[in-house]
């Protein structure tokens, strides 16, 4: 566990770069982390990020299926918004821990 300067603030992150204190998150941080992941954030990205953040904060089960059923984006669209590993990337940008679900 350490700290990292993101968007001008010292943020608590783990070895893999996930925020360890999700309350430190804000939109500027999301934009910065996304840039590191090679993603230029759009409103669509933010809508997905807010959705999964909301799910996490409510303590609900977060799965790729639930993102696909969110009404914001379908699963194909989710993969194209966050290419490669969508759940992991979106979680990192959303300032929540690495996804723990197998689905």
């Amino acid at each position: 566990m350490g700290q990292k300067l993101i968007a001008g603030i010292n943020i608590d992150v783990n070895d893999e770069g996930y925020l360890t204190n999700s309350s430190q998150w804000n939109k500027e941080i999301a934009v910065e982390i996304a840039k590191e992941e090679g993603i230029e954030i759009t409103e669509k990205h933010l809508a997905v990020v807010n959705f999964i953040r909301d799910k996490f904060l409510k303590g609900e089960n977060l799965t790729i299926r639930s993102v696909g059923n969110s009404g914001i984006v379908d699963i194909k669209g989710f993969y194209s918004l966050f290419p490669g590993a969508p759940m992991k990337k979106a979680a990192k940008i959303a300032g929540i821990p690495k996804p723990s679900s197998c689905v």
Binding site: R65, I75, P86
Partner: protein, 166 residues
């Protein structure tokens, strides 16, 4: 933490059995691989073909006979004789599916669509298709191709590739 030096790049998963648990083991691994950005190919053969056959795919069962790990709700052993009673297998299978739904594990067809949406590829085995007298039109529309085992091996090459048999 040490950094993984040779992360997986490709997995080729073979599903040869048609029970709920065998098919879902393959689907969970396949979807999981796609979600990690790993190139994924799933090859369905023998009874595993049920999972990609339109008529059968959402009607898979769990065998209630000869499974020593089968338990009653609550943990008591499940007597094999009970599993022989008509309807029991269907009931157990329905229960499995409802438990999975609670964990947001989708039905077979939806799961395959999720894998497909992420770029995973689904294949059927030619020999088993011939054996079961199945035609391309009997299969789920997302099946990419019908392959011989030789063609499957041709796809399974490359460093950091694993073949997984479930």
């Amino acid at each position: 933490m040490t950094k993984e030096e040779f992360p997986l790049k490709k997995v080729c998963i073979i599903c040869a059995k048609g029970t709920i648990e065998d098919v879902y083991a393959s689907l969970v691994m396949a979807n999981g691989a796609v979600m990690e950005g790993i190139e994924t190919k799933v090859f369905f053969t023998f009874f595993g073909l049920d999972a990609i056959t339109k008529k059968q795919m959402n009607n898979l069962h769990t065998g209630t006979i000869g499974n020593p790990a089968m338990r009653m709700p609550g943990g008591l052993p499940f007597p094999t004789l009970l599993g022989m009673i008509p309807g029991v297998e269907a009931g157990v299978s329905m229960m499995m599916k409802s438990q999975m739904e609670k964990l947001d594990i989708p039905p077979v067809k939806e799961f395959l669509e999720m894998i497909d949406a992420g770029g995973g590829e689904i294949y059927a085995c030619k020999l088993a298709m011939d054996m079961f007298k199945l035609k391309k039109e009997d299969l789920w529309d997302g099946v990419k191709d019908i392959l011989t085992i030789g063609q499957f091996y041709e796809m399974a090459g490359g460093l950091q590739t694993q073949i997984i048999f479930t």
